[in-house]
């Protein structure tokens, strides 16, 4: 669920555009390098983008009695890093803003930041830290993807709380109100998203482990360890 069209007053919508722009621009640059130097990774890029398309189209009911949708950005962030993922998220957000009146063009900057930048950065950091610490790969992928999903909605709540601080209690009261709406609804969905992405990651390992090694996502020894018992 994104911030709806017209629901961010100035100067907030401009501020979020300014913050998001450098990430997307650097993402476009990285994308250009990827297309030029690692053409063999393009199918994986398409899958990562397609994953955001599928997951962010599924509105799922949550225990709170309202519906929200997962983001699907964790996979892209793990495979290609947060910058390229911000470009993928931008494409989906523009589609939804234009054809579905879901999210919006004026709130695009804020929504790209929460879904395309903040979430993926969290996913990428958790994945890298987990790999370094030698935690089970699938547990790491699960944590990275589900916490990316959750933090997207925490950031959305913060963006709204900044723009609409409560008259009594200010930012924190607003944050609690929006957090209840967004973040708590999101908890079960984040768990499902993490599991689904861990599953897809397993299939990518069995299909193209060589690509993961070349993209520096997994080390060769890690691939051998995971594929060992199955082979």
């Amino acid at each position: 669920m994104h911030i709806m069209e017209g629901f961010l007053p100035g100067p907030w919508w401009q501020i979020w555009f300014l913050i998001s722009a450098p990430f997307v621009i650097y993402g476009l640059y990285q994308l250009k390098m990827l297309v030029r130097e690692r053409r063999e990774a393009l199918p994986l890029l398409a899958v990562a983008g397609a994953f955001i398309f599928v997951l962010s189209s599924l509105k799922l009911p949550s225990v709170t009695g309202s519906c929200s949708h997962p983001t699907g950005t964790g996979l892209g962030a793990i495979l290609f890093g947060p910058f390229i993922t911000s470009v993928l998220a931008l494409i989906v957000l523009i589609y939804q803003a234009l054809f579905l009146a879901h999210g919006g063009l004026t709130t695009l900057g804020a929504n790209v930041f929460s879904m395309g930048i903040a979430g993926p950065i969290i996913a990428w950091l958790i994945y890298r830290a987990g790999m370094k610490a030698g935690i089970n790969t699938f547990v790491t992928v699960f944590l990275a993807a589900s916490l990316a999903d959750l933090s997207t909605y925490i950031v959305t709540s913060m963006q709204l709380a900044l723009a609409f601080p409560a008259e009594v209690g200010g930012f924190m009261t607003s944050l609690a109100a929006f957090g209840t709406v967004f973040a708590i609804t999101q908890v079960p969905l984040a768990i499902i998203e993490g599991l689904v992405i861990a599953l897809v990651f397993k299939y990518i390992i069995s299909a193209r482990p060589d690509l993961l090694v070349r993209l520096n996502v997994l080390s060769e020894s890690a691939v051998d360890r995971i594929r060992g018992p199955a082979a």
């Binding site: 669920m1 994104h2 911030i3 709806m4 069209e5 017209g6 629901f7 007053p9 199918p43 994986l44 398409a46 899958v47 983008g49 397609a50 994953f51 955001i52 398309f53 599928v54 997951l55 962010s56 189209s57 509105k59 009911p61 949550s62 225990v63 709170t64 009695g65 309202s66 519906c67 929200s68 989906v92 589609y95 939804q96 803003a97 234009l98 054809f99 579905l100 009146a101 879901h102 919006g104 063009l105 709204l160 609409f164 109100a177 929006f178 709406v181 967004f182 609804t185 999101q186 079960p188 768990i191 499902i192 599991l195 689904v196 861990a198 599953l199 397993k202 299939y203 299909a207 199955a230």
Partner: protein, 99 residues
């Protein structure tokens, strides 16, 4: 455990489906006339904001004229993604099988 992860995913989905059914019964029982449960979380946030007297300063350039057309575009979005995912996984699998 070759399919361990798959089993975990199925198990969690079943648990969430069961939770949904229980929760839904409770919610439907307390629902007033004309009220609808399971709306979008963004709609709930919009209500909080509009409750403070704010009116959005910009309207969507185009809005799906009905719920059916909205679901058309959501389905289309999922379908495009699913085709791409299926195509490449199938491509890798076929390539592997033919050596």
């Amino acid at each position: 455990m070759k399919y361990g992860l798959e089993l975990v995913v199925i198990g969690v989905l079943v648990i969430f489906a069961a939770l949904f059914l229980v929760q839904n019964t409770a919610i439907q029982a307390n629902l007033g006339e004309g009220e609808e449960a399971w709306g979008g979380a963004d709609g709930a946030a919009a209500e909080i904001i509009e409750g403070s007297g704010y009116t959005p300063w910009f309207d969507p350039v185009w809005e799906p004229p009905s719920g059916e057309i909205e679901s058309l575009f959501f389905s289309l979005q999922a379908a495009i993604g699913a085709i791409v995912i299926g195509y490449f996984f199938g491509y890798y699998r076929g390539k592997k099988a033919s050596g």
